[in-house]
Symmetry: C2
Subunit: 115 residues, 2 copies
Amino acid sequence: MATDPLSQTLSALADPTRRAILARLALGEASVTELAEPFDMSLPAVSKHLKVLEHAGLISRSKDAQWRPCRLEAAPMKEAAAFLDAYRRFWEESLDRLDDYLQALQATDPDAKPN
Amino acid sequence: MATDPLSQTLSALADPTRRAILARLALGEASVTELAEPFDMSLPAVSKHLKVLEHAGLISRSKDAQWRPCRLEAAPMKEAAAFLDAYRRFWEESLDRLDDYLQALQATDPDAKPN
């Protein structure tokens, strides 16, 4: 469905299993079997996730070695990070507002201490 | 489908129309009609996108005013930015590798100047 690269990146990352696969690959290359191990998933299910990641350019798979190791390709994340960074001042503001609110709450009720 | 907050945030952002809506709201509150204007979309289609954004906590809608303005809520983006930031060194490395490759290419063929 997602056609533009940024949507494709964000969509591929919008899954906890795919994020766990990337976290594993951040430690080094791994085969599909190795990637499947920590999950209670079939190899075809893991392969499906790998296809999504490969299509988004977030991993590559060696064509040479027989075990076809997967490798993290983080470059597409740069655009996603830049997109989010443009909103940084907004999320910082919203956390400031929450902080002000909690402090006002505490001033009203001295027993309402944050724990 | 996405149940964890980070997946929900990334999934909501994985659409160019929804990102355009957020960019508009970064300029200030807007009604559904105002948000629909720049897109060649029906109000129900825009409302559907707004529901996705609202469900992800990326916008809120005033219950009071009759025109129910939409407002940007950027707080969920913080976790997404932190997630991506953990991969920063990987995408910087991959850009360094590309740079090395281009420089090596240029050293081999002095006419191959970057433009």
